[in-house]
Symmetry: C2
Subunit: 150 residues, 2 copies
């Protein structure tokens, strides 16, 4: 398999990687979840070259993860806001963070926390089954491949 | 920030990327969750070069995500099994798959499904709060940075 074939793979993980698999992109998303919206904010927080940042933000807009919003007319200035599709990536970022804090913790303590605004507590994500409602431990999951419709 | 500095970053997403951020690695993990254990199985399913596969499997063992198990003495043959740390990555793969199936579905239908063996249904992951137990929709999550201990 070649990398330019990833986009047309039926597997959602392969397609995810074709958009978000470059190393900077998840860090750009992390900063967006932490409140960054403007080009300069992303650039300063990540210490990333303007060329790479422009390219990554363009790709994220193209894939409808960010949208450009004009916040100033003269001179024209735009900021980048997460779309609904982008906001839905919080599950991916939370599961990565939870795994990392559990298995590969930093001596200095967790660097990022998630707060459930409704109950006002910091929490860790627990995966529940959409069918029976119960918590699903890893050993109760079986992954299987589907026959594709042709 | 340079990429060889990622490993010492306090952010779990940055550290995750330092181990799992190369494009092949998540696909190798996908195949492990689908049952692959032997070098040849990974190689055939992914159509990956033996050199790259050897390197990626070595790195995954080094980071305690796979462990090598001898399944034949003469000639010696080893297979790669997920450790507990590796199995715990199911949450990351499920959240990527769920996001992809929701926002970027393939015309041919979902290629992979997850079954909750206890209730015997295919399911999608729902994130619940570890503190109040309720389902947490994206808009009820706030991400915040922690002060690091020095």
């Amino acid at each position: 398999m070649k990398w330019n074939e990833l986009r047309t793979e039926p597997c959602p993980i392969a397609r995810f990687l074709s958009v978000l698999g470059d190393r900077w992109t998840l860090l750009i998303l992390r900063e967006a979840f932490l409140g960054a919206r403007r080009f300069e904010a992303f650039r300063e927080r990540l210490d990333i070259s303007p060329t790479i940042l422009t390219r990554r933000l363009g790709s994220l807009c193209e894939h409808d993860i960010f949208e450009r919003m004009t916040y100033q007319e003269r001179p024209p200035r735009q900021e980048y806001r997460l779309t609904r599709k982008g906001v839905d990536l919080y599950g991916v970022l939370m599961s990565i963070t939870h795994w990392g804090n559990k298995h590969d913790p930093d001596d200095r303590g967790p660097s990022m926390r998630f707060k459930h605004t409704k109950c006002a507590h910091d929490f860790v994500p627990e995966i529940h089954c959409s069918e029976c409602g119960e918590a699903v431990p890893p050993l109760e999951v079986r992954v299987h491949r589907m026959e594709l419709r042709t």
